[in-house]
């Protein structure tokens, strides 16, 4: 029988140390658990300060005893390697476990056990937990803002259609893969634009939407017959021409007035709101701010003084002012500079403002990527006879953009989380709707539930985006 040395556990008495240590750790966790979940202090017979620290001390000693290198037990080894490498780490691990155990009961009780979801008025919320009834009743408003209930299918349909069209890339056969970039960069945004600004908005303008869809569909079908050399020009020119033809030549305004077609009810953008507005604003700002930022970043590195200083000016200006003032100016000051009879929709102005604002950040992120490329890449591209655009499109940007995917994702996430600021111009997306709902006299005092709800939604959106950016990073990771 080997002598036991509790200061230096060793492999010879593995089982003794293992059992003693495990029992001590289990005991310490058990004490905290009982204390936390059943409000019973098992060690209250001890003096105050000792009883407070006892679990920590017990667990600490226990972890010390089981810290045996190369014990041969897989589970024990992995514990020792990951959370029990030395006294300090053992202490931190214990502390974290205790904090988690301690904080679980109040969270659980607020979220689930004491929460209410039944009923449809404030009166059912008697418990001390959350009142999910509030979210349930207001759910529609949080999703669609002031959009008329009867018309909400239009938003649903648009989003479903756009989501479906967005996933086409996964189903494309090898033959059509090469057109995907073109589709996502040119065709998809145009279709999305038609859907959102004509279909959701409705009114007589809805007919424009149908012309747009017809034009898009016809041009896509003919598009497959066009040699790929001309595709780029084709997809820019043909849909627009078709659209104009449809609008001004084939379908006279009179036709509509004759009542052959009934228009969708017009819903002004001021009534849009909730989560759907968050999506709309984020989507368009993301689409627009990226190319603008790209050109600004190239402009800033240009050799032509005018372009260079224009880009620097734009970037520094938009980076230098707070978003909230930009939004405010876009709604109050900007219309003053327009001719009397010209009117630009509030939502459009907001989207332009946010896009320009975020473009400045995107530009600087991309510039970081451009600067990270070795000069040799430029030399090599030039020595092969490439001009500025060929060099950038074929050689420089693919590499630079790959480098800055995390930075771009960062900016995009910030953009999504900045959208609630559009409340300053009276557009109420989800957080705006929450603020409105919490001031409703019948539903006072449920701000907490609302904000938790919004946080969860934002977390889901942002986490999905960050996961996606990580996937992109992995996908384009080559060598180097």
């Amino acid at each position: 029988m080997n002598k036991l040395n509790f200061l230096q556990p060793d492999k010879n008495n593995l089982n003794t140390y293992l059992y003693t240590g495990t029992i001590l750790v289990a005991l310490s966790i058990f004490i905290v658990f009982i204390n936390s979940f059943f409000k019973k202090d098992l060690i209250s017979f001890l003096p105050g300060s000792i009883s407070f620290f006892l679990p920590l001390i017990l667990g600490f000693i226990g972890l010390h005893l089981i810290r045996i290198d190369y014990s041969g037990l897989k589970f024990l080894d992995s514990i020792n390697k990951n959370i029990n490498t030395n006294n300090f780490n053992a202490f931190l691990s214990l502390l974290i476990v205790f904090v988690v155990i301690k904080s679980l009961p109040p969270l659980l009780s607020w979220f689930i056990i004491d929460a209410n979801i039944a009923g449809d008025s404030k009166d059912v919320c008697t418990g001390s937990g959350a009142c999910w009834t509030y979210i349930k009743i207001w759910f529609n408003r949080f999703m669609y803002g002031m959009y008329p209930n009867a018309e909400q299918w239009r938003i649903n349909l648009s989003f479903i259609a756009l989501a479906f069209l967005g996933t086409i890339g996964f189903f494309a056969t090898e033959k059509f893969k090469k057109y995907l970039t073109l589709y996502y960069v040119v065709v998809y945004p145009i279709i999305a634009f038609f859907f959102i600004f004509f279909f959701i908005s409705g009114g007589p303008i809805f007919f424009d939407f149908s012309y747009g869809i017809i034009a898009a569909v016809i041009s896509i079908i003919i598009g497959f017959l066009i040699p790929s050399k001309f595709k780029m020009y084709y997809f820019i020119i043909v849909p627009i021409t078709l659209y104009i033809l449809l609008k001004y030549v084939f379908f006279y305004e009179e036709l509509i007035e004759l009542g052959k077609l009934e228009a969708l009810e017009w819903v002004e953008t001021g009534a849009w709101g909730g989560l759907s507005l968050t999506f709309i604003v984020s989507f368009f700002c993301l689409i627009f701010c990226f190319p603008i930022g790209l050109f600004l970043s190239l402009g800033r590195r240009s050799d032509f003084p005018i372009i260079k200083y224009f880009s620097i000016g734009m970037i520094e200006f938009w980076r230098g002012v707070p978003l909230i003032t930009v939004l405010f100016m876009s709604s109050v000051m900007f219309p003053m500079f327009l001719p009397e009879d010209m009117f630009i929709d509030k939502l459009v102005r907001v989207i332009i403002a946010i896009s320009l604002f975020e473009a400045a950040y995107v530009a600087e992120v991309i510039r970081g990527g451009l600067q990270a490329l070795p000069r040799g890449q430029y030399d090599a591209a030039k020595s092969l006879g490439m001009g500025y655009w060929k060099m950038h499109i074929l050689v420089i940007l693919p590499q630079a953009l790959k480098l800055v995917i995390p930075g771009i994702a960062n900016t995009f996430l910030a953009l999504v989380k900045d959208t609630p600021l559009i409340f300053v111009v009276g557009l109420l997306e989800i957080v705006g709707m929450l603020n409105l709902a919490k001031t409703n006299p019948e539903w006072l005092g449920f701000a907490m539930e609302g904000y938790v709800f919004a946080s969860v939604l934002f977390f889901i959106i942002c986490y999905a985006m960050s996961k996606y950016s990580y996937n992109l990073e992995q996908k384009y990771k080559t060598e180097r």
Partner: protein, 244 residues
């Protein structure tokens, strides 16, 4: 005139206040192989970078294949397409496969059909003996293979002149040989070449003439045999005694 493919007269270049190239006069005839050697910082690389205008010269004139190098960028692109260049650091495009590296410029600059460009690329890759690596990425190849790919990439543009900027300086000794072999084969095929290198063995084997540069000036220019057997200036003698 007709067979002078490169003509440099009275060329001067400064980096800021520092004069890197002083009064360079150089004529290169078609199908000649010229080796440029000299200590570091003597302006060899700058000189050949000036020939396809990766660096701009401030005084004098450079005429490549009958076209003078000027500010006009359209012209430059046309000239660069006819002047292939191989760099010390390979400078392959890491986001493209070896084959795509070779076909990129022919397809986009010379507007060659893709199929044709690929055949051409494979042909040149075969010449430098890395056709079997065509679908790998540059990061997966050894330095010597990368440099040979860089040579193939330049050849795919079917240039009239090839410039080599210390092509073997970043390689370990075993790989130097495979790159030099590729260059020797190229020389034997009759390409006009200007090579900045410290590989005197290569110079002796293929060069028609050797140029020795120091402190931005061409100190000595001689036939290869003459250069090694009987250098005229003291500076050249010193350099040769150290390097050989």
């Amino acid at each position: 005139m007709s067979d002078k493919i490169i003509q440099i007269t009275e060329m001067n270049k400064w980096f800021g206040d520092f004069q890197v190239l002083k009064n360079i006069n150089l004529e290169v005839e078609k199908n000649k192989k010229i080796v440029v050697c000299g200590p570091s910082g003597s302006g060899k690389s700058t000189l050949i970078r000036c020939i396809n205008r990766l660096e701009e010269h401030q005084q004098g004139s450079i005429i490549v294949d009958g076209n003078e190098l000027t500010e006009d960028t359209k012209d430059i692109e046309k000239i660069r397409a006819e002047v292939g260049m191989v760099f010390q650091q390979f400078n392959l495009f890491p986001h493209l496969s070896i084959l795509d590296n070779c076909t990129l410029a022919p397809i986009w600059v010379k507007k060659m059909p893709k199929k044709e460009a690929e055949d051409l690329a494979l042909q040149h890759l075969e010449k430098v003996q890395i056709a079997d690596q065509a679908n790998k990425y540059p990061g997966q190849l050894s330095g010597g293979q990368q440099q040979r790919c860089a040579i193939a990439r330049a050849l795919c543009m079917e240039p009239k002149i090839m410039l080599f900027d210390e092509p073997t300086s970043a390689l370990d000794p075993e790989m130097i040989k495979e790159v030099l072999d590729a260059m020797v084969n190229l020389a034997k095929a009759g390409m006009t070449m200007i090579v900045v290198t410290h590989e005197m063995g290569f110079a002796k084997e293929v060069a028609d003439e050797v140029i020795f540069m120091d402190e931005g000036m061409i100190v000595e220019r001689a036939e290869t045999k003459e250069f090694f057997a009987n250098p005229k200036s003291d500076r050249t003698k010193l350099f040769l005694s150290q390097i050989l």
